[in-house]
Amino acid sequence: MTLRHPPTAPDEDFTMTRNSPISFIGASMLGAASMLLGFGCAHDPSKELVAARVSYQEAADGPAGTEAKAEVYEAEKALARAEQAHDKRSGSAEEVDLAYVALRKSTNAMAYATYLQFQAKTQSANADYVSTLEGQKESAESRLATSEDALASKSKDLATAEAARAALERQLSAAMASLSDMAKISQEGERTVITLSGAVLFRTDETQLLPIAQEKLGEVAGVLKQYGEEFSITVNGHTDSRGSDTHNQQLSQGRADSVRAYLVSKGVAQGSITAMGQGEAQPLAPNTTAEGRANNRRVEIIVDRKPGG
């Protein structure tokens, strides 16, 4: 706190007068001479009293007047004593001393008001701290509750999806089992390969599906279409080595296209299924025997689970 009135130093003149009677007499003579020469009036208040009056007024009119009433009252009483001393004997050491005390009392009242203001700020800040902390706690609890709800919902959804997937897997397995009399089914991780003999699906050198093949492929389509976008399906057509490469390529592509078209016509998503003719390039067995060539004439339906599906 910056004092409006610089504190008066311990009154050196006052101290001197008590330690040195000669100096006291000298000071008195000087004072009398000053009065005779018109440098001051006998009723003029001391500078300490003037400062005390100003300071008291400042304290009474400022925040201390309402926030530090007891301290201002003490200052008022101290100032009254100084005024009495002034009335009794103007400029006396008693007036100076009492005014000195009054000035301190007023300054103390103002300082105490400032003290109370900072104390109130501290209490307010502490209350803010607690309320902020409580708010953060409530917010965190709310977020936690929301997260737990979301987690529970996700868990439920996941369980439902898992159940649906398991049911689908069972359905697929059952359907695959029904195909076992006309197809070879192999499982490699997420990949399922259904291998259909060319003799079951097509007549020699033709690309049109036989009626029995349509019936069996209809069962396959019934399962595949339920997988929807989660799976990609590739239909690969293969031939044996008889005939030219060009012819075999065209024949295998035509047969793959026929199978694809039929599956799409039965509800399998068009965007999920592709058809490729592999010609005679990927034989399963040597083409030197009739049995080997029969095994090589085939259509493979490859079902892959899409990444993240």
Partner: protein
């Protein structure tokens, strides 16, 4: 604002002098010494005004003792009043400095807490 201390009361009880005219100054002197000690405990040096008034209080207390020893009771009493007033002012200023620092720290802590506050986003569950 007064600052009575148990130690002051105990010392006063033990040190009650035989001479009746010395009772009041001695009690006031003890009170002043106690206030000076309180201001010193708070470390009035943190505030230049408090430090200055504490110095005044000490010096005037010594002067008051000397005056009492010389039998200048009235002057000694007034000097003691001055010392007491400076001591109280020094203590108030020191306490004000102290609570001002506390206030600054408390406000800074609230600000820090508010700045650390997590954004009130939705649940932290990956969608």
């Amino acid at each position: 604002m007064s600052y009575p201390r148990l130690s002051t009361i105990l010392i006063a009880l033990v040190a009650v002098p035989a001479c009746a005219t010395k009772v009041l100054p001695q009690q006031q002197m003890l009170d002043t010494q106690s206030t000076i000690a309180s201001a010193e405990e708070i470390d009035a040096s943190e505030n230049a005004d408090a430090k200055l008034h504490l110095q005044y209080a000490r010096e005037q207390l010594e002067t008051a003792k000397r005056l009492m020893a010389d039998g200048e009771d009235d002057e000694a009493l007034r000097m003691l009043d001055r010392s007491s007033a400076d001591a109280e002012l020094a203590l108030t200023l020191a306490r004000t400095e102290q609570v001002k620092s506390q206030s600054g720290r408390a406000i800074a802590e609230v600000d820090a807490l508010r700045n650390d506050e997590m954004p009130s986003a939705g649940p932290r569950i990956a969608e």
